[in-house]
Symmetry: C2
Subunit: 220 residues, 2 copies
């Protein structure tokens, strides 16, 4: 039994990531983050995804980042942009950027992993996000891994199985691994049905379309 | 006005670090961590130190890490060793080690710093801790800095002004900068008067003795 911590947001990418970790023979502990109201439904989706993939409640952790700093930070408020064209998505740092998000997430992953004896972690960063989010780049993951190797007793191998996949390839991989894609949420607005217009909805819909598969989600 | 985030535990080292940041002309925001009962008094000490050095309440932040993970981790419980000889202190990883502590602390520092427009942080790691705590080594700080440079918009310069100082030199520097050393707490047990027997108390007392200065703390 090789334990691994899988960052699970309840979105498409992290769900496929969890399916990959299982396929690779790891015993996953899921780690989700609560950092504000917009993400409530994502947490429910994460729990549903974990249950569907056989991760028992005692191996699901939620780190509560709400109000982590008395009176500030960590939640990217501001308006979610809608109806941006394909040429705009992935250019510049989006307003949905959370300061140092993956740095914080991975550091907390390392803190959770060590007492569990887990030396592996999975995170669903992927190529489409590189240009917009600095903390999705492979260089960042490599630098973090080095910091974890030097700053913890056991180090942490960070697996990024989606790093070089397009959204369509992620969808196809998820379908192949029978990941419960129907339970995932991608919409930045977190509405049900999904808005269909934010960057995340647009990327997802295009991914399913290019993979030639129906998107099981309902859109407004 | 150059803002900087200073990690402030309420102990001797971080207090001297804050005094150094002020001397270097930074406008400090202090960041303290609440990760369990043993550290309650340290938080009070941190607030007293910040006040004494003129940091107003609105520039003091406390990150609440208690129960960060539902049902586990992050607090090093276990017994604090007492009366260890000089040859034992700093050898091996102490039981007071918190998994990935400085990795988590610095990641949260980066998250706090970015919205404040702070590109500098101060952390009081120092040479005596290197052999025991992996996350106090300069190599770790360098690797973290690299990860922050790649994983955030602005990066974070991590200042470690105590890195190459002995405890006696830290005491002397603190006295020179008129840091309120009488308000600091070092004892791992967190008792008042301090136990005088844990590693932290022993290192501190030896530091004052070697600096030729009286330790203003009361010991049991």
């Amino acid at each position: 039994m090789r334990p691994a911590v899988v960052l699970l947001s309840g979105g498409l990418d992290s769900t496929v990531c969890l399916a990959v970790a299982l396929r690779e023979g790891f015993t996953p502990w899921t780690l989700s983050f609560d950092y504000g109201q917009r993400h409530r439904r994502e947490l429910e989706a994460a729990a549903a995804v974990a249950a569907a993939l056989g991760v028992p409640p005692e191996r699901r952790r939620v780190a509560d980042l709400r109000g982590l700093f008395s009176g500030s930070a960590l939640t990217g408020q501001g308006e979610v942009p809608l109806d941006r064209g394909a040429a705009e998505i992935g250019v510049g740092v989006p307003v949905t950027y959370v300061p140092a998000r993956n740095l914080v997430f991975l550091a907390l992953t390392a803190a959770l992993a060590e007492p569990l004896g887990a030396r592996d972690a999975f995170i669903g960063v992927n190529a489409l996000d590189y240009s917009g989010y600095p903390d999705c780049r492979p260089e960042f993951i490599a630098a973090f891994t080095q910091a974890a190797a030097l700053g913890t007793q056991d180090g942490l191998q960070v697996h990024t199985p989606l790093a070089r996949l397009s959204k369509a390839e992620i969808v196809a991989l998820g379908a192949h691994l029978r990941a419960p894609l129907q339970l995932t949420l991608s919409c930045y607005l977190g509405t049900v049905p999904a808005c269909g217009r934010c960057d995340a909805c647009q990327l997802r819909r295009r991914g399913f379309a290019e993979a030639g598969l129906p998107d099981p989600l309902a859109y407004a």
